[in-house]
């Protein structure tokens, strides 16, 4: 008897009861409140349990609630959605028309729209032909990918049929929507063979013009936590004591088409060393963007003087869009400062000291500056003035 009493008390404490008549909106509100490190779990557990028993009329409210929810709450909501949708599929009550209307509404959460589309396909496979071709510029990377794949296939067919002009046009259209590197590579190879010039730095939004200073000391990886002068001030006519003597800012423009800045060549293959890299981004408006970084080195990133992320991992691999850092840009010039740290490993595979960084939206499409013709301020003096002025 005591054991059952204990169980009852435990259950009452751990799982607060949800009012029997709670509406999906009320349940979603409880789920929305879930936070990191398990906060709000007791309420969210009760709410998701109740919500998962709802009928198909709850599906659209759940999808709508995902917009604006935290990534954590969004997954709780998705869990309830999937359970209800699976049951509705068996009961043939999936609201196909509503799902389609939601899937094409670009104001909604891109991931939720994609979920709606995939459930729609289970009852209406023809939806793909109806919807996907118009999604080349969609805010959802997944929709764009499907649309690009179709256009790419069309282009390849035209090329095989020796309709060169039409093929070229189709490839260019496909490229306009492509945000995934495998598709970009598949498009630009035939496009370049057709004589079209493609600027991948512009396509992806890589930052190519930099001011570099280093090396500072990173012996035993200790420099990662040292606040060297560039973290306190950006004065491009200043000089500071470095690891091997006085160091000064120097301009560097990468020509590598994926925007890679190879510090072993721009400076020298230093070991146990740190370089700072500064640039500016002229945003046409205040906006939320992603800075996407790839590097095999430890790094810190500041935007407008604010540290936005730091990571001390060395030589575990690198790839395009390895790190996605959401930041808010202000209208006008925004300063971007990177600290790139090299350790002292001696293996052949541990010699890279490089980075690439781009500015894009959530789907991965490049965000352009105020004037793309002068993006990255092609005149070094202008870059320096812009950066220094911003940090005064």
């Amino acid at each position: 008897m005591r054991r059952w009493l204990c169980l009852f008390v435990t259950a009452m404490c751990l799982f607060p009861q949800v009012a029997p008549a709670a509406t999906p909106a009320e349940l979603l509100s409880q789920i929305r409140a879930v936070g990191p490190k398990g906060t709000g779990h007791a309420e969210a557990i009760a709410a998701v349990k109740a919500l998962s028993q709802a009928d198909a009329t709850a599906l659209l409210p759940i999808l709508q609630a995902i917009d604006g929810a935290s990534p954590l709450a969004a997954n709780w909501m998705l869990g309830a959605f999937e359970t209800i949708a699976d049951r509705a599929l068996d009961e043939k009550t999936l609201p196909a028309k509503d799902l389609e209307a939601f899937a094409v509404d670009v104001k909604q959460h891109p991931g939720a729209r994609r979920i709606a589309y995939e459930w729609l396909l289970k009852v209406d496979p023809t939806a793909a032909d109806r919807l996907i071709p118009g999604m080349l510029q969609d805010p959802s990377a997944e929709f764009r990918r499907d649309a690009v794949a179709r256009k790419l296939k069309e282009a390849e067919t035209l090329l095989a049929d020796e309709k060169t002009d039409a093929a070229k046009s189709a490839f260019e259209t496909a490229l306009s929507g492509a945000v995934d590197d495998d598709q970009v590579k598949a498009i630009i190879k035939p496009l370049r063979e057709l004589g079209v010039k493609v600027n991948l730095q512009e396509h992806f939004g890589f930052l190519a013009h930099w001011e570099l200073i280093g090396p500072f000391d990173n012996t035993d990886k200790q420099g990662f936590d040292v606040t060297y002068p560039p973290e306190q001030e950006l004065k491009f006519d200043a000089s500071y004591p470095g690891k091997m003597g006085e160091v000064k800012w120097t301009e560097f423009v990468t020509e590598e088409e994926y925007g890679t800045v190879d510090l072993t060549k721009a400076l020298a293959p230093h070991k146990g060393a740190i370089t700072y890299a500064a640039t500016t981004f002229d945003s046409p408006k205040a906006q939320a963007v992603e800075l996407r970084l790839g590097t095999p080195n430890a790094w810190k990133l500041w935007v407008n003087g604010e540290l936005v992320f730091a990571r001390d991992e060395y030589h575990r691999g690198s790839q395009l869009d390895q790190y996605r850092v959401p930041v808010s840009l202000k209208a006008g010039a925004n300063s971007i400062l990177l600290k790139i740290c090299q350790n002292e490993q001696t293996e052949d595979w541990a010699q890279k000291w490089e980075y690439q960084i781009r500015v894009c939206d959530h789907a991965g499409a490049a965000i352009t500056e105020v004037d793309t013709q002068t993006s990255q301020l092609s005149v070094p003096g202008d870059l320096r003035l812009a950066l220094e002025g911003r940090n005064e």
Binding site: L7, I115, Y314, R316
Partner: protein, 403 residues
């Protein structure tokens, strides 16, 4: 968690209400319920003959092991160009029918070496719930009907708890606590999580070095007194799963790829070859029984079958040793390369190499290869054993072999 909640949770655990008594045929976590990879008292006749009972298609990619709970087979996968769509799928063990498939979004980094993917850790179960962990640190708890119980995004909590090569440490249910090891160069930790609520009972800092080993179970006098063994480059710590307190420690270093195994209270640690340690009552530190440098495992974890310790080395040579002293008695070259660990039922040990070649070794004194079969797909996962079959998966296919 408040002290009151902790007391209630402990009462619940001790009452036996969280961990359902083990079904004889269940294989609830990586290398089985007790994380040894062995079902000692069962010979699987048709499985040993490598007869395929059924196969089912899988979506996306994955190298996590299947787990089996009652009549259900659970498999995790990840899909999408960025491997950011997470799947937990449930199949009927009798015929491979897909019963349900639930999807979630990755909230942590999904980058990995191309050979692996986001769905590398094997899920765990307490018999009533499924705990699916991904390399992106997303931790999903579902019941056996696929209904979400709770969800955590551990990289939201610990933003640098990731590895650019991908992570693979599998969670483990031990004495009523879900133990999660997430160890990397940048942010390393272990957590003890309440399986009912998803709330953390404890969080411990761990050595900052990339680690792909999975926890193991050191049985106590009762299941509630089991310890969890956390291996790392620093060695191996025996930890109270309820509190996270280190009970004893072996500090002479260990591998970060093959995991330790336990047999009759002895822990066989991939450390300087294999080091066998045992905790004596009243001691503060474990006694080192022996060390054998020639017993160096490759990627596969060691396994004890009957009276033999088996180690698969980097060259694909299976070494049979005496678990009492580590002396190598025989060796047999298998066809590699191997990413997965072997599992055993009775006297038969099942190996799957990366090229999809299944090899059955029968232990009769020395090991003999009795059967091979080419499944024709890349296999990186450690298989599971349940009932009358062996379950194994590639990216695209789930097989039941035998039965």
């Amino acid at each position: 968690m408040t002290r009151g909640y902790l007391s209630l949770a402990m009462a619940c655990i001790l009452s036996g209400s969280i961990v359902t008594p083990s079904h004889a045929a269940d294989w609830r976590q990586f290398r089985g319920n007790d994380a040894t990879g062995v079902v000692a008292d069962t010979e699987l006749v048709s499985a040993a003959d490598l007869t395929v009972a059924w196969k089912a298609p899988l979506e996306g990619r994955g190298l996590s092991s299947p787990i089996i709970v009652g009549d259900k087979v659970i498999v995790t996968s990840s899909s999408g160009y960025h491997q950011d769509r997470l799947h937990v799928a449930c199949f009927n063990a009798a015929d491979g029918e897909l019963l349900w498939d639930r999807q979630f979004w990755a909230t942590g980094r999904t980058m990995s070496h191309p050979k692996t993917c986001n769905a590398a850790p094997t899920p765990a179960s307490d018999g009533e719930r499924i705990y699916a962990l991904f390399s992106s640190d997303d931790l999903i708890c579902l019941n056996l009907q696929g209904e979400l119980q709770w969800y955590r995004g551990l990289m939201v909590d610990f933003p640098n708890a990731s590895n650019s090569l991908g992570m693979a440490q599998s969670p483990l249910i031990v004495a009523g606590t879900l133990v999660v090891q997430i160890e990397n160069d940048s942010q390393s930790l272990a957590l003890g999580i309440d399986p009912l609520t998803g709330e953390s009972r404890w969080t411990s800092d761990r050595p900052k070095r990339a680690n792909w080993t999975s926890p193991a179970v050191l049985p106590g006098p009762t299941p509630a007194e089991d310890l969890v063994l956390l291996q790392s480059s620093a060695g191996l710590a025996a930890v109270d799963p309820l509190t996270g307190k280190v009970v004893w420690n072996y500090g002479n270093g260990a591998s970060t790829i093959p995991s330790s195994t336990v047999h009759q209270g002895t822990v066989y640690i991939p450390s300087n070859g294999i080091t066998a340690v045992k905790m004596s009552p009243g001691s503060a530190n474990p006694e080192v029984l022996w060390n054998e440098g020639k017993l160096g495992p490759g990627t596969a974890s060691p396994i004890v079958v009957g009276d033999q310790l088996l180690v698969l080395n980097r060259a694909g040579v299976l070494l049979g040793a005496n678990p009492e002293d580590g002396k190598i008695a025989w060796q047999k070259r298998l066809e590699g390369p191997f990413s997965s660990s072997p599992v055993a039922a009775g006297s038969h040990i099942y190996f799957f190499n990366e090229n999809g070649l299944a090899q059955v070794v029968k232990l009769d004194g020395e090991g003999e290869i009795t059967k091979t079969s080419d499944l024709g797909e890349t296999i990186l996962c450690t298989p599971a054993i349940s009932g009358d079959g062996v379950y194994v998966r590639s990216d695209k296919t789930l097989w039941k072999i035998g039965g």
